[in-house]
């Protein structure tokens, strides 16, 4: 891997967002992943979503674990601080980072090996803890960097590039996230940016634990017949429950869609999610129904995509801990150190 600095020349015609930045300002270094890798499409979607959301690039913190997916934060949001942590443990580092400064936007990027194998425990606990973040798993069912071993999300019966069939049950991160208490859970496909970009935007605006499972075919090791995470397989088996439009709370909402195909979800911060329903009547705020629908899809061999579950009024870890509104990392001596007089009183109580 090499570090190639992109020329920073901005074309004057590039459109600035409300924050005053162009799309280029949200880009990162040139990707060193394989040509055609689904992960690069997801990186592009993250860039697009951040740009469209008008987030200040440096107000995002991006964290990842280890693996191909976890390398990708180098390739987006170059003006943001990033932390490539250790394998499977990004969730705890993100939890700590979030505790230190509740006012940044947290973007966690992980892979199926990172989150479903070595990191399954931390994955589960960050969801149940309600850390305010967007957690994206770039899911290809395979270990790319170590040349093609099955991961824990590989479907039973799927065939590796070497021709070996997987005999183990797959871990479905979407079901697990819902079960563990994530308050925003979606699934998408790296090849479907019309669905993916609004999903990422909505997840970033969600003030709680938001999880996105993004099927991302591995062109090197998992894009052949027999794989259930190849481009062809996912395209053929994708059953999109909905496409969403994400509208920030501050904008006036104009409903120009056919009401028969729309459901509106208003999040706690005032932002609006409009679901363009493709599936049957589907209510993403019904947790039990969401679990059921995901399981049904699995039984039918479908990859159910879209916004699967959302709690419009999530509560995050800071709410549970009743932490002060300002970032903990901004508190100074006066706020943190009780001083000598208080210590004298403590001493007196210990005699």
């Amino acid at each position: 891997m090499t570090y190639i600095a992109k020329p920073r020349l901005h074309h004057p015609s590039l459109v600035k967002n409300k924050a005053g930045y162009t799309r280029r300002d949200y880009e990162g270094a040139v990707s060193t992943l394989c040509a055609g890798c689904g992960h690069d499409s997801i990186s592009a979607a993250i860039i697009q979503a951040s740009y469209e959301l008008d987030v200040l690039p440096h107000q995002i913190a991006k964290l990842s674990g280890i693996g191909c997916s976890s390398k990708s934060p180098t390739y987006f949001l170059g003006a943001s601080h990033g932390f490539n942590t250790v394998h499977g443990r990004m969730p705890s580092v993100m939890t700590g980072a979030n505790l230190a400064n509740r006012n940044l936007v947290y973007m966690g990027v992980s892979g199926d090996g990172d989150s479903a194998s070595i990191g399954l425990g931390q994955f589960a606990h960050i969801m149940r803890r309600g850390v305010n973040m967007t957690y994206i798993v770039m899911n290809n069912g395979v270990y790319g960097l170590t040349k093609g071993q099955f991961s824990a999300t590989a479907d039973k019966g799927s065939i590796s590039k070497k021709g070996v069939a997987n005999s183990e049950e797959p871990i479905d991160l979407v079901s697990l996230a819902i079960l563990m208490g994530a308050t925003f859970v979606g699934r998408s496909f790296s090849g479907d940016k019309h669905q993916l970009v609004p999903l990422i935007k909505a997840a970033m605006a969600h003030k709680g634990a938001a999880f996105l499972d993004v099927i991302s075919p591995c062109v090197a090791f998992n894009n052949h017949p027999g794989s259930t995470k190849s481009y062809d397989y996912v395209r053929e088996h994708n059953e999109a429950l909905n496409r969403i439009d994400f509208i920030e709370g501050r904008e006036a909402i104009t409903a120009s869609y056919d009401p028969g195909t729309l459901t509106t979800v208003r999040q706690h911060d005032g932002s609006i999610l409009r679901l363009r329903k493709l599936g049957e009547d589907y209510d993403p705020s019904d947790k039990v129904a969401a679990m059921k629908r995901v399981q049904e899809g699995e039984a039918d061999g479908e990859v159910v995509t879209g916004l699967l579950y959302v709690d419009p009024a999530p509560r995050d870890l800071h709410h549970h801990l009743n932490t002060i509104d300002v970032a903990l990392n901004t508190l100074g001596d006066a706020e943190l150190c009780p001083g000598p007089a208080a210590l004298d009183r403590i001493n007196a109580s210990l005699r």
């Binding site: 943001s80 601080h81 942590t85 443990r89 980072a97 400064n101 150190c337």
Partner: protein, 614 residues
């Protein structure tokens, strides 16, 4: 009557209890009442890894001279646990005393000929007064404190005063405890000859302004004063009470007066891996963060410690050491995690360790560790142990300099970045090996960088180039040398007589060593002593070793871990460093150290100074 040990303000009383019987607070009351008479005490809990039912002991050393190490030997056994009766009887020194519940008198065959028996019908007294089973149990403990106070000559007023403080505003509890105390006092006054016990407390003035506190509580307070805002932990004996104490201190000291909101965040994580991950995430993002754990937790954290070290993220880890390896002896003490902490992680890594000797230094060093971790941008360990952490220890009062400010080390601000100051995340700008860092979100276009556990150049760019890697590793070594200078320096106790023998010790060995040095001196053996307070070792440690022909290294582990580190850090002749090792899980004693040193000196044919002079 057998011979009776007679001692004033210098004896050991051991309470044999059943875990979960409510004896702990009564025993602590006993110890505190002696302190209030101006006589130092040093109590120790000896307890099993159990919640209820198993034996537990509380050993109180009464020591007018202020020797706070464990003495060894028992002058009076308060035998409240039938389960351990035989071994408790066996442990009493000849001429010692056994105090027991004589509601059902024991046959003489259950005692020894050479001990003195004091029976008080505690159960009968309690049952005659209380009907509720729980009350009977709890007040039986207070009744024995009352009985002992008469036998040993503890001023009743001091106990009543302690009740007054403990039950302030809870008059009902105050009255009932006072009543129980008097039940014990009255019975003994009427039935026992006060001269039958020749162990006595006499009012003295040797406590001064010292405080009586557990190391875990003190370390937690140090974390508050040091400005920690994030604490992540996973329950493990003997460190759990540290995080709980941090929570308790924060509840009192760290809530916004207007909004009631918390200026701290505590997470009980799912395991130690997550605890240290949370600490590292918070440290990376500019909050002071710490975790508390014990040996098995360190094993789990090792990968993350390597990341924090190599990526240069501040973190504080308080390791309340217990007996290892593996699950080891969870409720016993050792100093056996030095190597696993000092060199935690794969690859060439070394970490900063601090060795507090008592609760006062637990407070100081935890606060200092937060500064050091920020200044050095690396994990810093506070290496305490069960003996300090979970026992009340008499120590100097906590102090805080009003002018002291939190030292965040080299953090580049938005203004500095805006002014065009060169920012290289891993660039050594002034020769101390420590680079500048930025907090995430500092500046819109400058100062962002990518933190990683892989190798990188001065500007945080990934690189596997050999020369770049070596440059970085050498800078880290330079940083470690800076730590050598800014970490707590060793403390030397020089003998009044010139000597070519030295002794090096650290941490909880300190009180036993103070006493051992006096014992050795009394026996005519003179040694210089050096208390090591940090790793990397200061120059003074190497100098001390070179000054002496032989140096005893006193440690509470089997393998001589500090000695191994000394051998590794300095160029030394190994024969010079003589290990004195205690590792059975009990706290080291002065008797053990003095005997060990004297024996080794005998082997080297050293004649005690006085004999040689005569």
């Amino acid at each position: 009557m057998p011979q009776a040990i007679a001692a004033v303000n210098d004896f050991v009383v051991k309470f044999a209890n059943v875990n979960g019987s409510g004896s702990a607070s009564a025993n602590e009351l006993f110890a505190r009442s002696i302190l209030r008479m101006g006589v130092p005490v040093s109590p120790r809990n000896i307890f099993p890894s159990n919640i209820q039912g198993l034996p537990t002991w509380y050993e109180v050393r009464v020591t007018e001279k202020g020797y706070l190490g464990r003495r060894g030997g028992v002058d009076m056994m308060v035998a409240m646990n039938p389960q351990t009766w035989a071994e408790d009887v066996k442990e009493i020194s000849p001429g010692g005393y056994i105090f027991y519940d004589s509601t059902k008198p024991m046959p003489s065959s259950m005692f020894r000929d050479d001990i003195n028996i004091i029976g008080v019908p505690l159960t009968a007294i309690a049952n005659a007064t209380y009907t509720d089973a729980r009350q009977r149990q709890l007040f039986k403990n207070i009744i024995y404190v009352g009985a002992l106070s008469v036998l040993l000559g503890i001023d009743e007023k001091e106990i009543q005063r302690l009740f007054g403080e403990q039950f302030k505003g809870k008059e009902k509890l105050l009255d009932s405890n006072a009543k129980a105390l008097n039940l014990g006092r009255d019975w003994v006054s009427q039935h026992v000859d006060p001269g039958s016990v020749k162990l006595k407390i006499r009012r003295a003035d040797n406590v001064g302004d010292r405080i009586f506190v557990e190391g875990n509580n003190a370390a937690a307070l140090g974390a508050v004063y040091g400005g920690a805002t994030v604490c992540a932990w996973y329950p493990i004996t003997p460190s759990s009470s540290l995080a709980e104490a941090f929570q308790a201190h924060c509840k009192r000291l760290r809530h916004d007066k207007e909004t009631g909101k918390a200026k701290y965040a505590i997470v009980q994580a799912e395991d130690e891996l997550a605890s240290i991950g949370i600490v590292i995430g918070a440290g990376w993002n500019g909050s002071r963060a710490f975790t508390s754990t014990s040996g098995p937790g360190i094993s789990l954290m090792t990968e993350f410690i390597g990341l924090a070290s190599f990526a240069e993220v501040p973190a504080v880890i308080v390791n309340v050491q217990r007996g290892g390896p593996s699950t080891g002896m969870p409720t016993r003490t050792q100093q056996s995690d030095l190597l696993s902490c000092a060199y935690a992680s794969n690859g060439d890594t070394k970490h900063v360790l601090l060795f507090p000797e008592d609760p006062k230094e637990c407070f100081d060093f935890t606060a200092d560790a937060l500064d050091l971790a920020d200044r050095l941008q690396t994990p810093v360990f506070v290496m305490t142990d069960l003996d300090i952490g979970m026992n009340h220890r008499l120590c100097h009062p906590f102090q805080w300099d009003e002018k002291r400010v939190i030292d965040r080390g080299k953090v580049m601000t938005a203004d500095e970045l805006e002014a065009g100051k060169n920012f290289g995340r891993y660039l050594d700008v002034d020769g101390d090996g420590i680079p500048f860092r930025t907090y995430p979100g500092t500046h819109p276009t400058k100062g962002a960088y990518f933190t990683r556990g892989t190798t990188k150049d001065e500007y945080a760019r990934y690189s596997e180039e050999g020369a770049v890697y070596v440059r970085n590793m050498e800078r880290l070594q330079k940083k470690f040398d800076t730590a050598r200078r800014i970490a707590p320096q060793p403390i030397r106790h020089s003998s009044a007589h010139p000597t070519s023998y030295g002794v090096i010790y650290f941490g909880s060995t300190s009180p036993a060593m103070d006493e051992a040095l006096d014992q050795l001196k009394a026996a005519g053996h003179h040694v210089n002593a050096l208390r090591v307070r940090a790793f990397p070792f200061a120059q003074g440690v190497e100098d001390f070793i070179h000054e002496h022909e032989r140096v005893f290294i006193v440690e509470q582990n089997r393998d001589g871990q500090l000695r191994t580190m000394l051998m590794s850090e300095f160029v030394l002749d190994g024969r010079k460093l003589v290990p004195i090792l205690h590792y059975d899980g009990t706290p080291i004693t002065a008797r053990f150290i003095a005997a060990g040193v004297a024996e080794k000196l005998g082997q080297f044919k050293v004649i005690p100074f006085e004999k040689a002079a005569s």
